[in-house]
């Protein structure tokens, strides 16, 4: 009898393996932990999009909970995301933009066309700040707390329902 039960071992192994594979079917491979959360916003020294003579650095993000959005004129999803960012600005969230791998003319034209929810835009034509933020596409959004520490990283599109469901709760959580 004991020997008979041992014959069920391969079946058991198959079921365990099948369970893992089944779970894998419904997992989102782009959903993964960010390496940036709980770390200081990286150091940088860049000009703003509006004024090439105005330099800004990481101290820009201290003192108030800030949503940093990485965008570019070349990024179609960023255009769809603008209404949500405008709504967040209207709800009193401080937004700072990073114009990523863009030209000044195109970046400014983008804001003229789709609206400007940003207090200031950091101009990052080489993508150096983006690289230090671990950005591998746009849009990406970071929530930075009063001490300049990154608290939340949203990879990709902020959908209309994400505003109330995800972003606002995070902002409120880190304001306290």
């Amino acid at each position: 009898m004991k020997r008979r039960l041992l014959l069920l071992l391969p079946l058991l192994g198959f079921l365990v393996l099948g369970g893992f594979l089944y779970r894998g079917l419904s997992m989102d491979p782009s959903d993964r932990d960010s390496a940036m959360v709980a770390r200081n916003f990286p150091e940088f020294d860049l000009a703003t999009l509006a004024d090439p003579d105005r330099r800004v650095d990481a101290s820009l993000l201290e003192g108030e909970v800030t949503l940093v959005n990485v965008w570019g004129e070349w990024c179609p999803t960023c255009k769809q995301e603008m209404p949500q960012l405008l709504e967040l600005a209207e709800r009193g969230v401080r937004l700072v933009g990073v114009d990523y791998k863009d030209t000044r003319a195109k970046g400014r034209a983008f804001l003229d066309e789709f609206g400007n929810p940003f207090e200031v835009n950091i101009f990052d034509p080489e993508g150096s700040l983006g690289f230090d933020l671990g950005v591998y596409g746009a849009p990406e959004t970071f929530l930075v707390d009063v001490d300049g520490v990154i608290r939340y990283h949203h990879t990709g599109y902020i959908a209309p329902e994400d505003v109330s469901r995800v972003i606002m709760p995070e902002v409120k959580k880190w304001r306290e």
Binding site: A35, M36, K101, G127, F131, G134, Y136
Partner: protein, 165 residues
């Protein structure tokens, strides 16, 4: 006909140009550095792609990463420093060879544990079989064996005798 083939060849060559353009050519004075560059770009995974190393991805971020690897090699950074630099920004995801640490213990340990388990199983099986072979027969088994051997032996003997006659 020959002319058509030549044109086809030219067309094929032209079509393969974009593939060549995906990865840039880098100059190295030191062959060791070049080999390290090849190894590093083959073991770093492109964060934008699902399953592709940065050495053959034409995604912009893979190009940026190759550029950083190249710069840092020229600056004399070690492989570990360069990998740390990437992991700090993009997470463990970019390592095709996960590091041995607390949360990867199962990943690295399971194959070794399974091999050990297999060896133990084989040893146990061999021992059990050897014990069975070495164990003497019980009284009942011996009697039965004797009876069988005797009957077969008798049969053989008869056949033997018959052949002799």
């Amino acid at each position: 006909m020959a002319r058509v083939s030549v044109w086809l060849l030219v067309l094929l060559a032209a079509m393969s140009l974009p593939a060549l353009a995906a990865v840039e050519v880098r100059q190295f004075d030191d062959p060791v550095l070049e080999q390290r560059y090849r190894d590093l770009t083959a073991t770093l995974r492109c964060p934008k792609c699902q399953n592709q190393a940065i050495d053959d991805s034409n995604s912009p971020i893979a190009g940026d990463m190759r550029e950083r690897v190249y710069q840092q090699l020229q600056q004399g950074r070690s492989d570990k420093e360069i990998l740390d630099f990437m992991v700090r920004r993009f997470g463990d995801y970019v390592l095709y060879n996960p590091r041995l640490e607390g949360r990867t213990l199962l990943l690295w340990g399971l194959p070794a544990a399974l091999v050990l388990l297999g060896i133990v199983l084989v040893i146990m099986l061999v021992r059990v079989r050897r014990d069975v072979a070495a164990r003497g027969l019980s009284e009942a088994e011996r009697t039965r064996l004797d009876a069988l051997v005797h009957r077969q032996g008798a049969h053989h003997d008869t056949a033997h005798h018959e052949r002799n006659e």
